[in-house]
């Protein structure tokens, strides 16, 4: 049974699809940035925490790990791992505000608005990686104090940040899918707690690839963290871009991002 349309089709959208996308993403990103600004302690702790890791973890393992870096500084070896771990933590937590939005009804309003689903993802990605980039810069600055210097200089630092963003993109997608998938934030935090340590140790964050047993090498080679770490390490301590390695790692991260985006956007479309 069909119903006759009594109404005009509604106001035509006043702008082009792309500028609508920009506007809705801007609105949401501004919201997240206001959240950051009004939670200054959370941001401060986020900045301090990886520094603590670098100072104490680096100090504790200095003796056993000294030979892992050309200059005999374990912190040089450690820095890329901690940068990557920071990106991992931020990005994987990227979906949490949406979980709270889901629980208090705000997400329903967002979904009932004429916004594209990818704007939700993009606004979270921009916010999370804005913080990650700040953290990377702070950590690089702190590392200088311990005599750890990025051997490839400013271009190396820029590339390092770009690698962090590439890892962050795919992981943010994973986090958003989990946020939609899981029913409450308790589940989310539990899952995050369970996966963080194994994912870290099944990468080259603390131990070089060569020092791992076979089975760990296999798992580590499937871990996107490994590629981000290896690329960053080459930029930090070898002082060369060592084209082949960095390029291979970047390619692996691009593949990771594309696959995650494809699966994630498909999932979110079906959900919303």
């Amino acid at each position: 049974m069909s119903i006759g349309a009594d109404f005009p089709a509604g106001p035509a959208p006043t702008s082009e699809p792309f500028s609508r996308f920009v506007q809705e993403t801007r609105g949401q990103t501004v919201r997240w940035l206001i959240h950051l600004r009004r939670e200054p302690f959370a941001v401060l702790f986020a900045l301090v925490q990886p520094v603590i890791l670098l100072v104490f973890f680096g100090g504790a393992f200095q003796k056993v790990g000294a030979q892992l870096s050309p200059e005999g500084n374990y912190r040089t070896f450690l820095l890329p791992g901690i940068l990557t771990l920071t990106v991992f933590g931020n990005s994987m937590s990227g979906g949490i505000p949406l979980l709270f939005d889901k629980e208090n009804g705000f997400l329903a309003r967002l979904i009932a608005a004429p916004v594209s689903r990818s704007s939700i993802l993009v606004s979270r990605f921009l916010t999370v990686n804005f913080v990650s980039t700040l953290q990377i810069l702070v950590m690089l600055g702190m590392s200088e104090l311990f005599g750890v210097r990025v051997a490839t200089g400013i271009p190396g630092i820029l590339l390092l940040i770009a690698i962090g963003l590439m890892l962050g993109l795919g992981l943010t997608v994973v986090s958003l899918v989990l946020a939609f998938r899981l029913t409450g934030h308790g589940d989310f935090f539990a899952l995050l707690g369970i996966i963080t340590l194994p994912v870290t140790f099944l990468s080259t964050a603390f131990v070089p690839y060569e020092a791992m047993p076979r089975w760990m090498q296999l798992l580590a080679s499937l871990n996107p963290m490994t590629y981000a770490i290896d690329a960053m390490r080459s930029l930090v301590d070898l002082g060369v871009f060592r084209g082949g390695l960095v390029l291979r790692c970047v390619a692996a991260l691009v593949i990771f991002d594309v696959v995650m985006m494809f699966l994630g956007v498909r999932y979110l479309r079906r959900q919303l």
Binding site: M1, S2, I3, A5, D6, F7, P8, A9, G10, P11, P13, T14, S15, R20, Q23, E24, R26, G27, Q28, V30, R31, I34, H35, R38, E39, K102, N104, G105, F106, L107, A108, R109, L110, I111, A112, A113, P114, V115, F180, T183, Q271, L272
Partner: protein
């Protein structure tokens, strides 16, 4: 002109039919209410109409747009304020309204005028620069309302607009909703509050277990009952103390009855009892079918009262007998006389001008209570986004 048209709208969650082939027309510019207990299917209906949920069958048009076929176009014409308070506690009212102007693609040139207009509409100008965490419940609700109106929707959906608000705040929210009607907005609200439905709505539909059981203006629904209601509860032969215990078990059995009918086939019996000459069907099938020990005393009392000339109709519910009469004042003494004449002592006597609660009773055969949460699972993935 119809702002909303539903045809055969159906939604199931597992075995539970939350909406059962609902047909509905909401006129352009009216305040229309969906009244029913929690779990009746109200929120499911709204979530379908605001494009958050896909129906299993049927058609829903809002402002002339098929919400399933073209959700994005529908979203531009729809305002939606969920029952939860959604105000973002970190943001000021002005910042939240700005966010919604972006979500609804309001051109930059119109933004600030629109934001100020909304602040004025809901009376939040003075607090506009404060974060909403410092607002009272009523202020947050008004902010939610303003956010749902920022794009000047043709139809505004309000899910339980005054849930959890104190009385003066409720009145203020109602005034805002009436002001919207004056602006030409069609308002669709769902509520489980009789008072709200009665005072606010131009027309309303009473829903029970996913079906619309009655639809009209509140006044017409009430006058359809005719007159007043005297409710008597017999004292069981076994004496006062035991009588009190029995009343408690009777109300327990009543809840059981609700879930039993909620599941499916029995729904038809309930509505048949409501519409028909209620007395016989209600007392016969209603009570014994539920495994409750039949209140024979109540049934006997009912048959006595039903025979009185001034009684329009009677209805039995748990151990109480509702007697619909023209006037409480003259009926009350005669009801008491008839009861004592039949040798049935009474435990309680109450009387009332019928309100929507009695309308609900008439059409569903059950008292209007809030315990009826069995019909729709509130958790679950599909409803929970």
């Amino acid at each position: 002109m119809h702002a909303i048209q539903l045809r055969g709208l159906t939604k199931r969650f597992g075995d539970v039919t939350a909406l059962d082939a609902v047909d509905l027309d909401v006129r352009d510019g009216e305040i229309f209410g969906l009244l029913g207990p929690n779990g009746a299917g109200k929120t499911t209906a709204v979530r379908i109409m605001v494009t958050l949920l896909r129906p299993d069958a049927g058609e829903a048009r809002v402002a002339g747009i098929d919400v399933v076929a073209d959700p994005t176009a529908a979203r531009r014409r729809i305002g939606y304020v969920p029952q939860e308070i959604t105000a973002d506690r970190y943001l000021t009212a002005r910042e939240q309204l700005a966010l919604f102007t972006d979500l609804y693609h309001i051109p930059n040139a119109l933004r600030s005028a629109r934001i100020e207009d909304m602040l004025h509409l809901v009376g939040l100008e003075a607090a506009a620069g404060k974060r909403s965490r410092y607002y009272s419940g009523g202020m947050k609700k008004r902010l939610d309302l303003a956010c749902g109106l920022i794009h000047e929707p043709a139809v505004l959906f309000l899910d339980e607009p005054s849930l959890g608000l104190d009385v003066p705040t409720r009145r203020a929210i109602w005034d805002h909703i009436r002001a919207l009607r004056a602006r030409g907005v069609t308002v669709f609200l769902c509520t489980n509050d009789m008072d709200e439905a009665d005072r606010l709505c131009d027309r309303l539909a009473i829903v029970d277990q996913g079906r619309i059981v009655a639809m009209d203006s509140p006044a017409a629904l009430r006058s359809g009952l005719g007159g007043d209601v005297v409710t008597v509860e017999p004292l069981d032969g076994s004496g006062g103390a035991i009588g009190a215990g029995r009343a408690a078990s009777a109300s327990g059995a009543d809840v059981g009855a609700v879930s039993a009918t909620g599941i499916g086939s029995a729904a038809g019996i309930g509505s048949a009892a409501g519409i028909g000459s209620a007395a016989g069907i209600g007392s016969g099938s209603g009570l014994t079918a539920n495994g409750e020990a039949p209140s024979l005393v109540a049934a006997r009392l009912e048959s006595v009262l039903a025979g009185l000339p001034f009684v329009r109709t009677t209805q039995i519910e748990a151990s109480r007998v509702h007697v619909f009469v023209d006037s409480n004042e003259t009926a009350l003494p005669r009801v008491l006389e008839a009861a004592s004449g039949a040798g049935i002592p009474l435990r309680t006597v109450t009387y009332s001008r019928p309100g929507l609660a009695e309308v609900f009773l008439k059409y569903t055969g059950r008292a209007y209570r809030q315990a009826d949460t069995m019909a729709v699972p509130t958790g679950g993935k599909k409803t929970n986004q």
